[in-house]
């Protein structure tokens, strides 16, 4: 299988704490892959390690056949990896348009992608001149995702997109993520198993800093024992 991203036995420390103790993730090109696991299992740290924000001490991160561990995070991002952090990490003092424009990697990226972005998130068009601080939680999340789509990213890492959102917004967001997966490969960290199972084609379960299971989501959905054991969901 053609993998866009391969994370091979990474070990990551934050301070003296050994957070990731052997995580393997393989992300097929053009897919949505969900990183699943309980709180504190190491899902977000895995994303941050891929991006070089918490560099691994051991193991490899390979993107499009190129080893990227050890590279600086802005160089990794410039390779075409977009990140949507948890807690709707937009720039609150910038307007919606400025938040989008700042993500341009080449001049004109925003103008070129405008129609696509506003077809995904029509609300943003109406709010274009408002400062980020005036947006609701759902609108901020949409802006954060839209911002990661401005540049031609080939891989999008999304951390907890549904966190704290109303069900109607989660539905809207899921549609948008499904739609954008036609353009780019997505790795998703999601606590809400229902959301993850409806979106992702592949999954990786992380438990206490180790990847313990991975495969196709449709197989996991039928494997109640695994779900119960690692995710605590029935």
């Amino acid at each position: 299988m053609n993998h866009l991203l391969e994370v091979q036995s990474i070990h990551t420390f934050i301070g003296q704490y050994h957070i990731l103790q052997g995580v393997d993730v393989r992300v097929p090109k053009g897919s949505i892959t969900a990183l699943l696991g309980r709180n504190g299992a190491g899902k977000t740290t895995t994303l941050k390690t891929i991006l070089g924000l918490t560099p691994p001490r051991q193991g490899k991160v390979v993107f499009e056949g190129r080893e990227i561990n050890g590279m600086r995070s802005f160089d990794i991002a410039a390779l075409g990896i977009g990140f949507v952090p948890e807690h709707r990490a937009i720039f609150r003092d910038l307007s919606v348009e400025e938040n989008l424009k700042i993500a341009e990697r080449r001049k004109g990226d925003y103008t070129r992608k405008q129609d696509f972005l506003f077809s995904l998130f029509p609300d943003l068009k109406r709010l274009i001149n408002l400062p980020g601080t005036h947006l609701s939680g759902g609108q901020q999340q949409m802006l954060a995702i839209a911002r990661a789509l401005v540049a031609d990213n080939r891989l999008l890492l999304i951390d907890e997109p549904s966190e704290g959102l109303a069900p109607v917004l989660i539905e809207q967001l899921m549609q948008a993520i499904r739609q954008l997966s036609a353009e780019t490969t997505v790795v998703l960290v999601e606590q809400n198993f229902l959301v993850a199972s409806q979106l992702a084609e592949y999954y990786v379960i992380i438990e206490e800093g180790r990847s313990v299971k991975q495969g196709k989501m449709k197989d996991l959905v039928n494997d109640k024992a695994t779900i119960h054991r690692y995710l605590g969901a029935a």
Partner: protein, 354 residues
């Protein structure tokens, strides 16, 4: 049609244009109040007008200095406790080059430019390694070393040690004694040019990245920006501006006190932008006016105990106007506008029912 376009283009800058007109006319209006004709003011013949020009020059210099601090602290989020060094380098270098080496003003400006870049690079050296309060302390350390240097007896023949640099004679064509009105307009023109440059900078893509760095540097990195270069660019522009303010200070003042290299002078810049509004640019100008006039007024009418009241006023401003004068004004004016809009809607609904 063309006339309408011209006026609509001016409208957003109405406030700035009125302020500019006030400052252009100020020396002449003050002269008229004291019985001096504009021609007398033009030839520096009015004592009162000359005094006001001097006070305004000090405000312009403080505003330049505060603008430079607002750029790195207010817009880029770099808390520096060594900002006074940027100003003091400009002030001392101007004095030394004019007095001891007989440099022309143009050559001095060239050296100030170089010094401005060099000191930004010096601060920039620690940028990738330290952040937040650690950066503030490291910059304080650097500025303290510079302060020790200027008051050292070894450099006394140049810097005047702890007495300060004295006897600097400004070039005749902008001498504060004989050509004060010209110096007034030169300083005002420099302030306007720097202010416009800053406006352009903060609204440019580079400026937006600086704002993003202030908000969350990690997020800016994740978008693929090497934040170091953006912080360095802000530092360089800020350092050049502060050094230019220092240069103007030496041209206007006959003495460069070592106090301008101390922590107190960095606090002055911080205080000015806190009064005016951090990260607003206009706030640096408003803050400089309030700071200098308050200091002057209280010293004149109260005397030595002015510092105590000054301090109390600053505490009150910070407590009651937490976003500074300009910041609070912007916040409140938006709320008042929204209130009016809501009221207008209610009125319209009421009318329809009738």
């Amino acid at each position: 049609m063309a006339k309408n376009k011209f006026f609509s283009a001016l409208k957003p800058n109405q406030g700035s244009l009125i302020t500019l007109a006030v400052f252009i006319l100020l020396p002449f209006v003050v002269g008229l109040f004291n019985g001096a004709s504009p021609a007398q003011v033009w030839t520096n013949g009015s004592g009162q007008s000359k005094f006001i020009q001097g006070l305004a020059i000090e405000i312009f210099i403080l505003a330049l200095y505060a603008l430079s601090y607002d750029l790195i602290f207010g817009f880029t989020g770099l808390l520096s406790f060594g900002h006074s060094m940027f100003f003091a380098v400009g002030a001392y270098l101007t004095g030394i080059l004019l007095k001891n080496f007989g440099f022309s003003l143009g050559a001095t400006f060239g050296m100030i430019f170089l010094a401005g870049i060099l000191q930004a690079l010096l601060f920039g050296m620690v940028l990738p390694r330290v952040k937040g309060i650690t950066f503030a302390l490291v910059t304080l350390g650097m500025a303290s070393v510079f302060h020790v240097l200027v008051i050292s007896s070894e450099l006394g023949p140049y810097t005047g040690s702890d007495v300060g640099l004295q006897g600097v004679v400004a070039p005749e064509f902008i001498s504060p004694a004989s050509q004060r009105l010209r110096l007034y307009f030169v300083t005002l023109a420099i302030l306007i040019a720097v202010f416009m440059l800053y406006k352009r900078f903060v609204n440019s893509p580079t400026g937006r990245v600086c704002t993003a760095i202030r908000e969350n540097e990690g997020r800016a990195l994740m978008l693929g920006y090497n934040t170091f270069y953006f912080k360095l660019a802000a530092l360089a522009l800020s350092s050049l501006t502060a050094a230019l303010a220092g240069m103007l200070h030496t041209i206007y003042q006959p003495i460069v006190s070592p106090n301008v290299a101390g922590l107190g002078y960095t606090v002055t810049a911080l205080l000015i932008i806190l009064i005016g509004g951090v990260g607003t640019l206009n706030g640096a100008l408003v803050g400089a006016v309030v700071f200098r006039l308050l200091d002057y007024g209280l010293r004149r009418y109260i005397g030595e105990s002015a510092s105590f009241i000054n301090g109390a006023v600053y505490v009150a401003i910070v407590l009651f106007l937490p976003f500074g004068i300009v910041g609070t004004w912007r916040l409140k004016s938006a709320q008042i506008r929204q209130g009016w809009e809501r009221l207008a809607k209610l009125w319209l609904i009421g009318n329809r029912r009738d």
